[in-house]
Every structure is written in C-alpha cells, then in structure tokens.
C-alpha cells in the first residue's frame, strides 16, 4: 500500500519489450528532468515528449502520440484540467496521470472527472511513478487512497445529481472505501472473495460514473444558462 496506489499486478506477466511512450508536462524543468530520469533508468518507459504549459501539452500530445501522459495541474496558458479534457477528447486511448504537488482536492477531482485515470503526489518515489505508468498503460486506474477518499466524499456530497445519473452500488462503495483505507486490489479481492479483475472493473466503473456525473452537471449548467440553444 502506498499513496502511489494499490498494486494490482500479479507480478508474473512478462514486461513489455517496447518501452512505454510517455509525455511529461510540467512547468518546472527540474521536475521534468527528474521524472525523465526516473522513468528512463527503470528501462520500462521512454519520454517521447515534454511540455511546459497546457497549450504546448495539447500540441505535443497530438504530434508525439504518447501512451501515457504525466501531468502537473498548475500550468501556464491552458490550465491542467482543461488540457486533460482537450487531450482525452482528441485521443481517448491516451492515459493521463495527474502528478500534483499541491494535493488541491478540487483540481484533482476535476481532472479525474474530465478523463485522468490516475493521480500521484509529486513526493512519490521513482518506483511508485514507474509502477503507476505501467498500470495505467495496462488500463488499470491508479486510484490512490487519497483520491479514493475524494471520490467517496464527492458521491456522499451529492448522492444522485439527477435522474438517470447513477450513484455507487453498495459493492462499489465497499471497494472504494477499502482503496481509501490503503488496501491493494489484491488484498481487496481476498477480503471480498472476488477476483482482482473484478476489483479493477469496479474501480473502472466508479470512474466512469464520476465522469458521467460531470457530463450531467455540464449539461444542466448549459441548460440553466440557455447555452444549449444555437446562437441566432
């Protein structure tokens, strides 16, 4: 268990031969260099692009086609959340991991709502960062205990924002709470007598529901402001 998230890997699968293509987005060169170093020394990933602001991130993502993007949220020009929204919209297969120093909950939650599939604090160790990159590339959300707590709070705060917008099932709630308490996916699977894959599916469904809620909120906001009408 760590703030880098539960380790759902079984450990016996062979490492991919091709290094994972990663883009690093941060306005501090020190951090970009540090992360590049962490990733490339591991041999698991290669940094195919770097960007220092949101606008650049959107462009570079288009050109260099990374598999995983490690991204700070406090960025000049286009804010991180906006950049994630744009990138995920354009290339839905790209996995975005938020790498944030602030731990500012609202921002992180927003980033996940618009499509980020992971969240790491900048204090994470090199091993945690590499592990997270591998896991999101394999389609597994990196749900740290603190992020799980934020998502739980979000679902508690507004149980169902509107008709047809699903809340969490009791099982999803249970899984999320265990993630928030720091249990790994494998430990959760053992506790609940289900497979690791099922735990991963639950976490993925929770993320999907969170994103659905976001879309519903945006739609309601648009309707309230009359923004859904075509301009004259």
């Amino acid at each position: 268990m760590s703030d880098a998230g539960p380790d759902g890997r079984t450990g016996d699968e062979p490492l991919p031969e091709e290094p994972i293509r990663v883009m690093v987005v941060d306005d501090h060169p020190v951090w970009r260099d540090g992360i590049r170093n962490d990733l490339e020394t591991s041999g698991v990933a290669t940094v195919v692009a770097e960007a220092s602001d949101g606008g650049e991130a959107i462009e570079r993502a288009r050109e260099s086609m990374p598999e995983v993007i490690l991204m700070d949220l406090q960025l000049p020009t286009v804010p991180g959340v906006e950049a994630i929204r744009a990138i995920v919209e354009e290339s839905p297969h790209v996995k975005v991991v938020v790498l944030s120093a602030s731990g500012e909950e609202v921002d992180v939650l927003e980033a996940v709502k618009v499509g980020a599939t992971g969240y790491l604090l900048k204090g994470s160790t090199a091993a945690e960062i590499v592990n997270a990159v591998q896991r999101v590339r394999d389609g597994e959300p990196v749900f740290t205990p603190s992020l799980a707590g934020m998502v739980l709070s979000e679902f508690r705060r507004v149980a169902a924002p509107g008709p047809g917008v699903p809340g969490l099932t009791p099982r999803e709630n249970e899984v999320l709470k265990l993630v928030a308490k720091g249990y790994t996916y494998r430990e959760i699977a053992g506790k609940l007598f289900i497979s690791v894959k099922t735990v991963q599916n639950h976490v993925q469904n929770i993320l999907t529901k969170l994103q659905l809620r976001k879309r519903y909120e945006l739609m309601r906001y648009a309707i309230q402001r009359g923004l859904d009408k075509a301009p004259e």
Binding site: M1, R156, K181, G182
Partner: protein, 416 residues
C-alpha cells in the same frame, strides 16, 4: 433547522404569522361579544338555557386562554379549537327550540366557528384552511337535523342559508391560507437573504484569517528555501558530502511541504461553536509523524466536541506511534467517516503485522500502548478493533457511537 412542516413550536414564530394570529384573536372577541349580545336578546327562545350559558362560558374561557397561552402555535391547540368550534355548531341545534334555526333568527354560534378555519389557514396554508372550513361546513349542515329540521324537506331558501354558511367557512379558510402562504414566502426570502449576508461576512472573515496564516507559512517556506539554497551550494562546493547533511535539508523541505499542504487542505467551512474539525486534528497527527508518510481522509466535514476530538486524535497518534515503532511500514492511512453506527476512524499500515491476542500481549508486557488507546475510546463509549496478521499489515478501528446531542438544534448544526 427542523424541516417537518407541522412540528415547529421550537422555531420562533414568524412575525407575519403572529400578526395574523392577533387579528384572528381580535375577531374571536368580537364574535364572542356578538354571541353574548344575541343570546341575551333571544334568551326566551332557549330550549336548554343552562347548556346555552355553559357553552357561552366555555367559549369565553377558551378565548381567554387563547389570548394568553404561549402555546398558541401548537398543533394541539389548533385541533382543540377546531373540535370546540364543531361542537359549538352542533350544540347550537340543541340549545335553541326545535326548528328555530330555519327562520330569520340569528344563529346561536354566530360567526365564532369561522375562527377555526382562519386559524388553520393562517398556520398551515391553503389546503388545511380549506379542510377546516369543510369540517365546519359538515357540522353546520348537521346542526339542522339536530335542531329537528329535516334536510330532505328543506326549502330552497333554507338550503341557500346553509350553503352561504358553507361557502363562508371554506372561503375564509382558503383565503387566510393564501395570505399566510404569501407572508411565509416573503419572510422566508427575507431570512434567506439575511443568512446569505451573514455567511458572506463569515467567509470574508475566514478568508482574511486564512490570508494571515498564509503569510506566516509563506514566510517560513521562504526561510527554509533560502537555507536549502545556501546550504545546498555550500555542500555542492565540497568534495565529499555527509549524507546526514543532505537528509537534514530534505527533512526541512518535507516539513515545509506538509505545512503548505495543510494550509491548502484546511476545512472550507468553519465548525459550529464548541466543535472542531476532526480532519484538521488528524492532519496535525499525521504531520507529527515524520518517519512514515501518512494519508488522511475524512469523508465530509466531521465536527465533534473538542474533548472528543482530543481523545480520538490522542488514540490515533498512539496508533501511528505503534506503526512507526513496530510495523516497519512504508505508508499509513487514517480514514474517518460518520456512518449509521457512529464515527469510525481507521488507522491502517502496510507493515509486517502481528498476531493480535490481548492476553498474550499483556503477559509479555506489550499491551501498554494498545491498552491506553483502548481505554480512551471506551471512555467515549466506543470500542477498538484490531485486525492484523503477520505480513498483512495492521488495521486499528475505533468506533464511537454518536453521542446524545444536547439539543436537536445542536445536532442539526453539528452533523449536517
């Protein structure tokens, strides 16, 4: 605030509704006076004069009581009033001589019963006002057969007389309900905007406090950065750097990082009086543990009385000390939530775990800290559960059932 629509005696009565009530009260006295005046004039028409004067006396006493009682706004008062007015209508048919109610004679109960419809309309709105008016109408209609007048044989004029009464009662209840609803909405809006202003003021005060705190922390961060900068360059110039020196710089940076993070993550809302945020207290616990990174999650704002916070955080701190001393963990999580059973705080680590067996631990003299944690939580009426196994980390769970709230209001404010 209590939201049930009827049981609101604890709320201060809205000035608008109090005004309506006083108006109705004045009307009651006028109607009572008119009743007495007419009764004196028609005393020789009474079939049961004793009952008549008894009823007048009772109505007088009831009106007097309504004029002085602080419980005027209670549902029970309204129900008694409606029952009394219905009784008054029914008894009217008994006290006057048979057939008296159909002529041009003034009615014994006069206009007094309409007060019940007005009161229900004023207190509960249109629907209940109409319903009370309807109940009175039924009683009015029944008062005719009680007086020996068969409704089947009634003339058009007689039916019209009863019909007028029915319309009068129902319209009075409904109209008063409408007035009351309008007044209620206006006063609700006024209250909302007053609350909005208050909240805004509090927010401004909080922000300025936040800004002051921010300046202090920014200052300490700048100091630390300046030191890291200076010492880093000095170390960089040396040929061999002692690891201890580098570690000291890293610790200094870590401390400032935690302080800044705490500033950002502090609770957005101010807790109510004599309560404090559990999360803020737990964050302080977590910061005090330098050796193992601790993630704190609290679902929603959890506000507890300060002594409860002290005990819970002391127990959590001991649990974290245990983690540092024995668990060999890489991370720990403190998780707090308020559920149906009460407050649950969990401290979990990913360390080596152990076999939790109280007697065994006690005999080996290793139960001291656990005993102390357990005692704190049990003093709060809660219980401690330890789940651990070698190699599987440890989870300590504190369950504290919700304390009996001092009053409903406090509970509403404290646990939104």
């Amino acid at each position: 605030m209590a939201t049930s629509s009827d049981e609101r005696p604890s709320l201060p009565a809205q000035p608008g509704r109090r005004g309506l009530w006083l108006g109705i009260l004045a009307y009651r006295w006028a109607a009572l006076g008119w009743m007495v005046f007419l009764a004196i004039g028609a005393a020789d028409e009474f079939r049961r004069p004793g009952v008549a004067w008894l009823v007048l006396g009772a109505t007088g006493v009831w009106t007097l009581w309504l004029s002085v009682t602080p419980g005027w706004d209670r549902p029970l008062t309204r129900w008694l009033d409606l029952g009394g007015c219905i009784g008054l209508l029914l008894i009217s048919g008994v006290v006057v001589r048979e057939g008296y109610t159909v002529g041009d004679h003034p009615f014994f109960a006069t206009a007094y019963p309409v007060c019940a419809a007005l009161t229900w309309g004023a207190a509960r709105g249109v629907g209940p006002g109409l319903a009370a008016g309807f109940a009175l109408s039924v009683a009015l209609t029944l008062s005719r057969p009680i007086n020996g007048v068969s409704l089947a044989d009634a003339t058009g004029a007689q039916i019209e007389g009863v019909g007028n009464g029915v319309v009068y009662y129902i319209a009075a209840g409904g109209a008063m309900g409408l007035i009351s609803r309008t007044l209620g909405r206006a006063s609700d809006e006024l209250r909302r905007s007053q609350e909005e202003v208050l909240r805004e003021r509090e927010r401004v005060a909080r922000l300025s406090e936040h800004a002051t705190m921010g300046r202090q922390i920014h200052d300490s961060v700048l100091q630390a950065l300046a030191w890291v900068n200076k010492r880093g360059h000095e170390l960089g110039a040396e040929t061999s750097v002692p690891g201890r020196e580098v570690l000291r710089l890293a610790d200094m940076a870590a401390q400032q990082e935690r302080e800044l993070r705490a500033l950002i993550q502090s609770e957005p809302e101010e807790p109510p009086k004599e309560r404090a945020s559990l999360r803020v207290a737990l964050d302080a616990d977590a910061r005090a543990v330098g050796e193992v990174p601790v993630t704190v999650t609290a679902l929603g704002p959890i506000w507890l009385p300060e002594h409860e916070i002290d005990e819970v955080t002391a127990a959590v701190r001991q649990a974290l000390e245990n983690v540092v001393q024995h668990a060999r963990a890489t991370h720990a999580v403190v998780f707090a939530e308020e559920g149906e059973q009460g407050l649950v705080v969990t401290v979990r680590d990913d360390g080596v775990g152990f076999v939790y067996e109280e007697d065994g631990l006690r005999s080996r003299g290793k139960f001291g800290l656990l005993q102390s944690m357990k005692g704190r939580i049990e003093d709060l009426g809660g219980r401690m559960t330890v789940r651990s196994a070698p190699g599987a980390g440890t989870e300590v769970e504190f369950l504290i059932p919700e304390q009996e709230p001092a009053s409903d209001l406090a509970a509403d404010e404290g646990r939104p």
